[in-house]
Subunit: 166 residues, 2 copies
């Protein structure tokens, strides 16, 4: 079981948008190119983030994508859940209530211990991601930069005119 690769794309794209100055907008195509991702796949991921109200898409000649919320207010869990579906990892089909020896359904009001522990594991996974904001990621990116990337990004943005609205 694995998350789709678009989770990685969405997280990196949100971080890139959160690094932009206020009011800046980047067309989806430029953001895809910046990450070395095929624009057609990438735009589907961004559409999900727009639908979830995490990213905003501004129409028009000077339009593009921007964060719709403050980076402090967006958790990694929100981004991941917007891209993946929101279901729990574990599927409980209540097989304990099936088969020739199952009791009447009224006897199964207490949750199944197996489902309880599996859901507890899910909750711990979510807790870590809910406890990390996009602003936390941005702080790491600023305080532990990869040498040369910031400069290369600034030059690329100027050269391509990918940032609009500022």
């Amino acid at each position: 079981m694995q998350l789709s690769e678009s989770v990685e794309w969405g997280l990196h794209a949100c971080l890139a948008l959160a690094m932009m100055p206020d009011g800046a907008r980047v067309p989806a195509r430029a953001l895809a190119e910046y990450h070395g991702i095929k624009p057609s796949y990438f735009s589907k991921v961004m559409q999900r983030l727009v639908a979830a109200g995490i990213v905003q898409s501004v129409e028009g000649r000077s339009g593009g994508l921007a964060m719709a919320q403050s980076a402090e207010d967006v958790s990694l869990l929100q981004i991941v859940m917007a891209i993946e579906d929101h279901q729990a990892f574990f599927r409980c089909t209540e097989i304990r209530q099936k088969g020739p020896c199952a009791a009447a359904s009224k006897h199964y009001r207490a949750p199944c211990t197996i489902a309880k522990i599996m859901h507890q594991a899910d909750a711990e996974w979510r807790r870590v991601l809910a406890g990390t904001s996009l602003a936390d990621l941005r702080r790491s990116a600023i305080t532990q930069p990869v040498p040369g990337v910031h400069e290369a990004t600034q030059a690329w943005l100027t050269e391509t005119g990918a940032v609009r609205g500022i």
Copy 2:
């Protein structure tokens, strides 16, 4: 993203085997029927558990399935990982190293913050399941039984002759 439904089957099947008296063996077909699962699908799940050394399959007329290890020694994580693949949930394809602004690969020795947090969430999920043994499940099943199931199971086992080797 969801675990396959066979995770639920495998966990319940291991619990059922762990409830059997020492030396008892249950044919895969009977174990599938007990859980109301189609035997052909179910046997594939059991084969994975046998391959992982969690369940043993004894050949012959009085053969069948049994736990290969003490219930104290088998964690829920081992069962789940035997059924699902062993990969981490999060796929990191190092997209930070792609695109027009990436630095030389030697600058990416420190792990990506995004991957680090996603893997930390995975580790928390695994921690919960690694910390729960099949014996813990069995204790819950014994101390909080569903009324009538134990008696129905005993009667079914006697009637069908599903348990062998004791």
